[in-house]
Subunit: 497 residues, 4 copies
C-alpha cells in the first residue's frame, strides 16, 4: 500500500539524478569529475590527470577510500572519453595488471597445502581472485556504475572479436570476472517484472522497438498493434540500476487455441478477441536486450513468472505455448540436400525439395502440398535426431525451450511467410508447450538423457512415408489445446502439421 509507494519514490532518487546529470551535461560523469577534483589532494590540482590504471590502483588502495565515489566517477569518465584503441589498451591492462597477485597466490597455495582447511582455502580463494573484480565492485560506487560496467563488457566483446592467442585468453579471463560479477548483480532476486503496454513511457517503448529481435517492429503503429489490444500482453524484466532499459522482454498473444502462423497473429486488420475468452497464451517473441549481459540467463525465469502472472490475471488460460522460429533449419536442410550420403533425405525427397529453390514456391498451393510432408519429415529429424556438440539439438531456440522444460508440441508448415522466415526455415515455425506439471520432468529427461521431449504429433512425422499422411489437426489434450489449431482468420492453403 502506501509504504510500497514510499518505496517507489524511494527508488527514484538515483534514477532522477542520473537522468538530470545526463540531461544537463551530456557525459554524466563530467560533474563527478569536478567533484573528484575537489576531493583530490592540493598537490594534484593543476597537474596533469593521473592515468586510468593509476586511478584504478588508487581506487583499490586503502588511500582512496575516503573519496571512493568520486574516484570511481572519475575513472568512468576517463573511460567514456577513450577511443577504440584506448579502450583496447585499458582492457589489456585489466587483463595483465589487474589479475591475481602471483606472489600472494603462491604463498596462499603453500599455506593451504601445509594445512588444508576452511581458513586456508578461503585465503587461497581470495588470493586467486583477480584484483579487477574488486575494481569493478568499486566502480559500482559511482552513480551509473552498474550500467557503465555492462557497457564496458560490451566494449570487451568488440576487442575480443579481433584478439587472438594469448591475448584472447587474457581477455577471456577478464570476461570471466565481468560475467561472474554481473551474474551476481543481475541475480533474479534483484529483477523486477513489469507489464509493458501502450501507457508505458515512450523512451522505454522506443527501446522495445529497437531491441525486438524476432519479428521486427516496423514503426509506432506496429508497436501499438502489439501492445494496445485487449488480447495482447508484453512483459519485461528490469533492474533497479537500469530503470529505463529492459533486460529481456516477451510478447504474448491471447488466443482461442494454439496458433500455427505468425502472419495471422500479427495481421493488421485482425479483430482482437475478448481477453476473458482466451484459453491460450502464446509467447511469440522473446528478445534479450543487453549484449553486455550475455550469458546471464533471464529467459527461463521470465517465462515462468509470466505464466504465473497470466494465470492469476486470467483464470481461463489453460495452455501456455510459444510460436517460435526455427533459425537453423534451412541451413541444416541445405547441408542434407547437398549430402549424397544423407541419412535423412532420400533421392525422391531431394527431388521434391528442389522446389524450395524456386522463388515464391510457397505461393503455389500444389507445390506447397507436395513439399509439406517431406519438409515436415525432415524437420522432425532436425529436431529429434540431429545433434550438435554436447548431444544437444541443432536448433538454438529448441535448446532454450527444451532446457526450460518445455515440450516440442507442433510443427507448423508455412507459419512465417516473411522473407526472413522463408530464408531461415522455409517458413517453418514450431510451438513449444509449457505445461507446469511436466516442466521438471521434461527438464530432467532433456538435461540428464539428452532426450528431446516432443508431442506424438511431432514424432509421427519421422515415419511419415506416404503422401497419405494427411496433416491432421493436433489432438486435444487436457491442457485445453483446441481441436482446430488453425487460427480462425487463416483461410490460406494447408499451413498446418
Amino acid at each position: 500500500m502506501s509504504s510500497s509507494t514510499f518505496f517507489r519514490s524511494m527508488l527514484t532518487t538515483i534514477a532522477d539524478r542520473g537522468r538530470a546529470l545526463v540531461r544537463r551535461h551530456g557525459p554524466m560523469v563530467e560533474d563527478l569529475l569536478e567533484d573528484a577534483a575537489k576531493l583530490m589532494p592540493l598537490s594534484a590540482k593543476g597537474q596533469p590527470k593521473r592515468d586510468l590504471p593509476t586511478l584504478c590502483d588508487t581506487l583499490l588502495s586503502g588511500r582512496g577510500e575516503a573519496s571512493g565515489v568520486a574516484l570511481a566517477g572519475q575513472i568512468l569518465d576517463q573511460w567514456a572519453r577513450l577511443d577504440t584503441a584506448g579502450q583496447r589498451a585499458f582492457l589489456l591492462d585489466l587483463a595483465y595488471r589487474f589479475g591475481p597477485d602471483p606472489i600472494k597466490l603462491d604463498k596462499a597455495i603453500n599455506a593451504y597445502r601445509a594445512a588444508p582447511g576452511a581458513g586456508t582455502a578461503l585465503a587461497l580463494h581470495n588470493a586467486a581472485e583477480a584484483r579487477r573484480q574488486e575494481l569493478f565492485r568499486r566502480l559500482n560506487l559511482a552513480p551509473g556504475g552498474t550500467e557503465a560496467v555492462v557497457r564496458m563488457r560490451e566494449a570487451l566483446f568488440r576487442v575480443m572479436a579481433d584478439a587472438q592467442g594469448v591475448e584472447k585468453q587474457a581477455l577471456e579471463a577478464v570476461d570471466a570476472d565481468f560475467s561472474h560479477l554481473l551474474a551476481s548483480w543481475f541475480n533474479r532476486g534483484f529483477l523486477v517484472l513489469r507489464h509493458i503496454d501502450w501507457t508505458t513511457p515512450a523512451n522505454i517503448l522506443e527501446k522495445i522497438i529497437q531491441y525486438e529481435a524476432v519479428h521486427t517492429i516496423r514503426d509506432w503503429d506496429d508497436l501499438r498493434r502489439r501492445l494496445a489490444p485487449a488480447d495482447r500482453r508484453c512483459f519485461a524484466f528490469f533492474h533497479p540500476q537500469l530503470p529505463d532499459d529492459p533486460l529481456i522482454f516477451v510478447e504474448v498473444a491471447l488466443a482461442p487455441d494454439i496458433p500455427a502462423s505468425i502472419d495471422a497473429l500479427l495481421a493488421e486488420g485482425r479483430a482482437p478477441m475478448a481477453e476473458e475468452d482466451a484459453t491460450t497464451a502464446v509467447f511469440y517473441s522473446i528478445s534479450n536486450c543487453q549484449e553486455g549481459l550475455r550469458g546471464v540467463s533471464f529467459g527461463n525465469f521470465l517465462i515462468k513468472q509470466v505464466v504465473e502472472d497470466l494465470r492469476a490475471e486470467l483464470p481461463n488460460l489453460r495452455t501456455f505455448v510459444t510460436l517460435s522460429p526455427v533459425p537453423a533449419f534451412a541451413k541444416w536442410l541445405a547441408r542434407e540436400r547437398g549430402d549424397e550420403a544423407s541419412a535423412v533425405l532420400a533421392a525422391a525427397d531431394k527431388a521434391i525439395l528442389a522446389a524450395l529453390d524456386q522463388p515464391d514456391w510457397q505461393r503455389d498451393p500444389g507445390t506447397a502440398a507436395t513439399v509439406s510432408p517431406v519438409l515436415l519429415q525432415a524437420a522432425a529429424h532436425y529436431f529429434l535426431k540431429a545433434k550438435s556438440r554436447g548431444n544437444k539439438p541443432v536448433d538454438p531456440v529448441a535448446r532454450f525451450h527444451l532446457g526450460n522444460g518445455a515440450r516440442l508440441e507442433r510443427l507448423n508448415f508455412l507459419g512465417d511467410l516473411s522473407p526472413k522466415g522463408l530464408t531461415q526455415s522455409h517458413g517453418l515455425m514450431v510451438n513449444y508447450l509449457y505445461k507446469l506439471d511436466d516442466i521438471e520432468t521434461n527438464h530432467e529427461r532433456y538435461a540428464d538423457k539428452g532426450e528431446v521431449v516432443a508431442a506424438a504429433a511431432v514424432r509421427r512425422h519421422l515415419k511419415a512415408e506416404s503422401g497419405t499422411d494427411e496433416p491432421k489437426p493436433p489432438k486435444p489434450d487436457k491442457t485445453g489445446v483446441s481441436k482446430r489449431a488453425r487460427p480462425a482468420t487463416d483461410t490460406a492453403p494447408p499451413p498446418v502439421v
Copy 2:
C-alpha cells in the same frame, strides 16, 4: 519525470507480492513450498520431505535448474521452521559440506603450478570458492531471498557466539562467504538515499524508533520532535530488496553554529529556527540497523551523500559537523585514575576527579568548574595520545569519523547529561568536522600515519595546566563556524571550546 514514476511502480512488484504473502500466510514461504511441490517429480509427492542439505545439493546441481525459484523458496521455508539447534546443525553443514571441493581444488592448484596464467588462476579461483557462495546466490532467486540471507547471517552470529576452536573457525569461513556476497549485493551503487520525515509511512518510522542506538527515541512524540520541525532532517539508506527496512540512518539538526550540548538540541520546548537561516548541519545520531550486514560499511557514504544533498537544498549551510558521544571515555579514565603509574593524570588531577564519584556532581557549578579543565585535559590525551591495537584511537566513534576524513573539532564538557551520557563519558561530547576540501588529506594523514587530525582548540587542552585557561569561544574560520559556539540556550558553566 514520468519514466521515473514508471520506475517507481516498477519496483513495487516484488515488494507488494512479498507483503501480500506475509500478510495472508504468515510464513511467506508457505506458498512457495506448495508451488515447489507442484513442480517436483511425481515420485517425490507423498514422500517425506527431502532434508535441507539434500535440497541445497539439488539446488546447486543442474537438475534443479528448471525449478530453481521454487526450490530456493522451499529451502528458505524449511530454514524458517528450524529451532536453534536445527539452525546450528544446518550452519555447520554449510561449514563442513559446502566448502570448496578439496579434490577439484588440488587439481586446480596443480594445473596452475604447471602453467601459471590467467586461465589457470581463474580456474583455481573458482575451485577455491566455497560451494555455499553459489548456494547463497541461488537462494536469492526466491522472493524475499535477500532478506532471508541477511537473517541467516544473524543466526550465524548467534551460533558463533557459543562456538569454539575448529568449529568456530569453520563457521568464520561461512561468515566470510556471507560477508563477501552481502558486500557485493549491498554495494553503495545499489543503495538509495531517502529523506525520512513525518510523512514517512508508520511501519518505517516504527523501525527508526527501534533502531536508534545513540540517543533513545522515547515514543512517537519524541520521534515527531526529531522529524517534523523545519530545522530537522533525517536520511536513511535503503536497498530495493528490503524496501521497508532501513540499513542505516542519520539524524540531522540545522543550527546557527556548532552545538555543544545534546540536551539543548533535543529539548522539548525549544523553538525551531528557520531552515534558511541555518549555517550548520549537525549530525547528532547515526545508527546501523541490520546486524546481518555487520562489516558492510555504509556510514562513510551516507554522511558524504547527505552533505551533498543538504548543500544543494540549503546553500547557506557552510559547516557540517557531528555532535558525538565518547563511548569509551569513562572506562578509560577509570583505568587511568586507578593506575598509579598513569602518565596522564597527576595525583592532583586524580584528587579533583574524585568528584566524579559523587552522584549528581555535575549539578554543582563549583564542582563542575573545578573538574572541567582536568577532565578536558584527560580527554585530549584520550583522543590524541591513547592508542588501541593497530595504533588507532581508543574511541570507536573517533575511529569511524577520523577514518572518514573528519577532524576532531571540539570537546564539549557536560554536553550530555543523560544517565547514559554521564555513565559512559561523564557527560563529555565532541564534534567532528567534515570539511569537504580537507577530507582526503585528513584521511591520508590518519590512514597512513595514524595521525589524529584535530583542531588547535583540542590540542591546546593537552597542555592546559591552569584554571586560568579560561575557555575561549572557538575562532571563526572559513568553514563558517560562528564565533559564539555556545548554544544560546546553554547558560550552564563553561562547556568549552
Copy 3:
C-alpha cells in the same frame, strides 16, 4: 499501469508546492502576497494595503483578471491574519455587501415576468446569485484555496454561534452559498477512497487519531491495533485538494459473526483471525473529519464503496453490519423515567431501572439480568416508536443508517462498558445490517413512509412481557466475538441480548 503512475505523480505538483511553501514560510500565502505585490499597478506600491472587501471587489471585477491567482492569494493571506473580530467583520461584509445586486435582480424579475422562458429564467438565476459565490470560486484559484474556503466556513460557524436575528439570517445565507459550492467541489465523483493501514504516512495517521469520534484512539499503540492486524481494515475518502487530510473514515473489523460488544472487539490481548475465514465485516466506527464540510454527505457513499471493495477482496464475506453507539438513548430514557405519564415505562419498569442510578450497576450479574429485559423493551420503543420532528427516529445514528437503507438488526445489552458508553446509552449498542439487495427498498420504506426497518428480533422486544425471556450476555470466546451471533439473514428466534 504506468499511465496511472504518471497520473499519480501528476497530482503531486500542487501538493508538493503547497507543502514546501508551508514548510519554508509558515503562512503559505506570504509568498503569494509578494507575488501579488509585484503584479499590482505601480500606483499601489508603497501605499497602504487595500482592505479585504476592496480586494474582493477587484478580484470580482474584470480588472483583476490578469492577476487573479495572485489576488486570490493576497486575500487569503489577509484573511489568515485576521483575529476573531476581523473575521466576524469580513463575514458580515460577505453577507451584506456580496449578496445579489438588488437592482439587477429587480430588472431580471421584470424581464422574466414580461417574457417567461429559458433565457430570462437563466438571467434571473444569475442575477439572484450572490456575488460571493463567484468570489469563492475565484479564491479557489490560489494554491490552497479549496482548503482555505473550507476553513473559512468553519470560522463562519463560530461567528454564527453567537449571532442572532437578522444578522444570523444574513450569515445563514452566506453559509448556504458555502454549502452549495462545497457540495459541488466535494461531489462524490471527485473523492478518492484509500485504504489506511500501518504503512500509511504518519502525518495522516496522526489525523486519524485526532478525528476518531466514536471510540477514542488512546495512542499510537492503540492505533496500531486497529490498523495492523490481518482482520482489521480502515478506509477514508480524500479530495485531491486536501491530500493529507481525510474527509471521513470508517474502521472495519473482520469477524466470524455479528459482534455484540465493542469491548471484545477492541480488547488488547485478542488473537486476530485469518482474514479469509471471516464471513462478516463490522463497521464499528465512522467519523466525519471536516467541520467545514458539515452537511456535505459522504457516509452513505463511503459505506457502499467499502462494501463493494471488501467483497471483491474477500469473497467469503457475506454479512456487512455495523456495531453502533446509541448516543441519545440515556437522555431519552431519563426523560421517560421522569415522565409520570410515560407511555413507555410502567411504574414497575421505572422501579427496575432505578438500578441504573447506582454506580457500577452493570458489574452485578443479578442487577444486569433484571435490568436487561426492561431496558431492551424501552430501547425498542426508542428506536421503533419514539419520533423526533420530521417523523424521524430520535437517534441520530439510526437516522443515518436507516436513511442509507440499512436495517436495525439487533440490540446489544452492555455492548459498550466504557464510561462514555454507560453515560450515553447505559452500555447499549446496536447493529445495523447493510444487505445490498434490500437497501433500495429499505430506503424507500424509511424515506417515504417513515418506517423504521428492523429485524423481527428487535421488534419482538416491544412486546417482551415475561422475565423468562432471560437476556443472556453473549458468551465471550477467544476471538472476543460472542458465540451467539447468528448472522442477520437469520430470521429465527431471539438471537441475543
Copy 4:
C-alpha cells in the same frame, strides 16, 4: 515526500478502476447497469427499462438517493447507446423538462418582492436554477461521470449547430448550465500542471499529436524532436478526473533570443543548445484539447504558471515570448485589397501586394524585399487599428495574448513558410512578450481602454513610408531581449521587422 507519494497512489483508485472497466467491457457502464439493476425494487425487474428522462427524475428525487451512484451510471450507459436522433431528443428534454419549475419560481419571486432580503433572494436563486444543474451534479457520482458530462456537452454543440429559433435558445440555456458547472469543476485550483516529455506514457503523447492545433506534428519522430532535446519543453494542464487526457498544452523552445521564424525553430537538422545558456523561452504552440470545455479558460493560467516554473528551473531565462500565427490576416488583407475605399492601402500598395497572388512569390528575394515594408505596414494597421465588434482587435490570437497582459512585440515577415502559414497570413508571424512586471498594467490598458499595447518597433511600421525604413533589429530592453533578434541559424536575407 512520502505522503505525496501516498497521495499519488491515492489518486489512482478511480482512474484504475475506470480503465479496467473500459478495457474489459467496452462501454464502461455495463457493469454499473447491472449493479443498478440489483438495487432496483423487485417490481422493476424483468420489466422494460425505464426511459432516460424518467431515470433522471428518479435520480433527482429523494427516492433514488440510496442508489444514486448506480442510477447515475445507468443513465450514462443509456446515454452512451443513443444515436444522434436520440441524443437530440434527450438534450431537448433537458431543455424543456429540466429547466426551473415555473410555479415554484413564481412563488419565489412573490416572496422576494414581498420581503426582499438575503433569505428570499437565496430562495429565488434556488428556484430559478434549472433542475438539470442538479442532475449534472448527480451524474458526476458515477465513475467516469465528469468525462461523460464533458462529452455530453460536445454532443450538445453538434445538435446546436443545426438548431434554430426557440429551440436554439432553449439549447443555449442548457449549454449555460453545462458551462457554469464545468467552469466550477475545472476551476484552476483543481488543475495540475505536468511536464510532458519523451518519458511520458505513449497513450498521452498520442493525444498531444492528435490535439496539436497550431503546427501539425507529423509523426512520432516529429514529436520526439519537440520533446526530447534539452532545449525543448512541453507543459499541460490535467484534471484528476481525466487523468489520461490533457486539457491544454503549450510547447516551449529555449533560445538565445527572440526567434522570428518557426521554420528555423522546428528545423530537423538543428543543433540543440545547452539549456542553461538560454535566455529566452518561446511559447510557439498552445492548443486547447477539449471541445466540451469550450469557454472555460485555461491559457492565461497555463502561461503564467509555466513562466513561473521555468524561471525557477532556469534562472538565466529573462525573456518570455511567443512565436504566434496571425490566423485572420490574409483574409482581412484580401478585403482591404478589394476595398476601393480602403483607408489602409493606397493604390501603390495594392499594386505591390498583387505579387502575393503569384505562387511561390516568397521564394524570390527581390519580390520579398518589395513586399515586406508594405505588408508589415498593413499588418501594423491590422493589429493596432482594425477592430472587430467590442472594440477588440480582429486577430483572435492577439485578443488572447493582449487580454492576458502581453505586449505585441514584433512582426516577423515570412516567419512561417508552410502552406498553412502562407495561406492564412502570407507567412507573417508575431511575437507577444510576457513581461511579468507589466502584465497587470498592460491588461488594464487593454481591458479598460481597448488599447493594443505594442512595442515601438511595431508602432513604427504604421508610419513606415519609405523603403528606406531599413528593418532594424529590435532595441534591447531590460527584459533581456538580445540585440540580435535574428536566430543564429537564420542566415537568410532580412526576414525581420
